[in-house]
């Protein structure tokens, strides 16, 4: 499956293509949400404000992005700043380093790896992408997955395993094998 690159998508957004904007938001929504809730441990009501604020800033400032291919780090930085602003506003006298969770860099690194795995997943056939997302990200049981996809319950586990086998080389192609401290 072919996936539109970030730079192509950003260029189309700049040209005012609504479907491209929809795809950009869809592609990065979980990433921004994860930074808010896992990296900076915002509660959902704060995370929602930050989430909308980040995409508003992206939409407003997309013309200022110098390299279209640098979208992801730019988005991460925007999200990080917006989370810090939110934390500071609720603890006005604290310094940035005091409001920032101590393990934030480690968590953001994990979220970057997770994004890379999801990007690799996006190139899998629909059936594999769907079953892996349902089981791991949506936390659905074998029974729920079997019912939803019309599969015999006994085959769900083996199908997940086969899809993970297909995913592994795709992740490694993207440089995942070089990640230290895993395995």
């Amino acid at each position: 499956m072919t996936v539109t690159s970030d730079d192509q998508l950003v260029a189309r957004c700049r040209a005012g293509e609504t479907p491209a904007w929809n795809e950009l938001v869809e592609r990065y929504s979980r990433y921004v949400y994860a930074i808010c809730t896992q990296g900076f441990r915002l509660q959902d009501h704060d995370a929602e404000d930050v989430f909308q604020d980040v995409f508003t800033r992206v939409y407003t400032n997309l013309d200022r992005l110098r390299e279209d291919g640098a979208f992801r780090p730019w988005l991460a930085q925007l999200t990080r700043r917006s989370c810090l602003d939110r934390l500071r506003s609720s603890a006005r006298e604290a310094l940035a380093e005091e409001v920032e969770p101590r393990d934030v860099d480690e968590t953001l690194s994990l979220i970057d790896d997770a994004l890379m795995v999801h990007e690799a997943m996006a190139t899998l056939p629909d059936n594999c992408r769907d079953i892996l997302d349902r089981f791991f990200a949506r936390d659905e049981s074998y029974r729920v997955i079997a019912d939803a996809l019309g599969l015999p319950p006994g085959t769900v586990a083996s199908r997940i395993s086969r899809c993970l086998d297909k995913l592994k080389p795709l992740v490694e192609e993207r440089g995942g094998a070089a990640r230290p401290g895993v395995g």
Binding site: G16, T18, W21, N22, V25, E26, S29, R30, Y31, Y33, A34, Q38, D44, E48, D49, F51, Q52, D53, F55, T56, Y59, L110, I111, D113, A114, L115, V117, H118, M121, L132, D133, F135, F136, A137, R138, D139, S161, L164, L167, K168, V171, E172, G176, A177, R179, V182, G183
Partner: protein, 84 residues
């Protein structure tokens, strides 16, 4: 053990969970919201009574245009009325 075994891949897939319902749609509506804001501001410039109604109730003005009044959109509309 390999660099990315099944357990690690599963852990990383699980790290990006679905976003609560409605958040993505609200963000996707931003271009439409921007157009609606421009329309509201233009109309308010030409119609003082409308402007007063908008300033008194920004959320209703957006709702009339079919736009979700998220805090980010409300802030932008409020900023426009302060700056214009």
């Amino acid at each position: 053990m390999t660099a990315f075994d099944h357990e690690e891949l599963g852990r990383l897939i699980a790290a990006l969970r679905p976003v609560p319902a409605g958040w993505v749609r609200a963000a996707q509506e931003l271009p439409a919201a921007r157009l609606a804001i421009e329309g509201i501001v233009s109309r308010a410039v030409a119609d003082a009574a409308y402007r007063d109604r908008v300033v008194a109730d920004l959320e209703s003005a957006l709702a009339e245009e079919g736009i979700e009044p998220t805090p980010a959109v409300l802030d932008e509309l409020r900023d426009r009325f302060i700056s214009d």
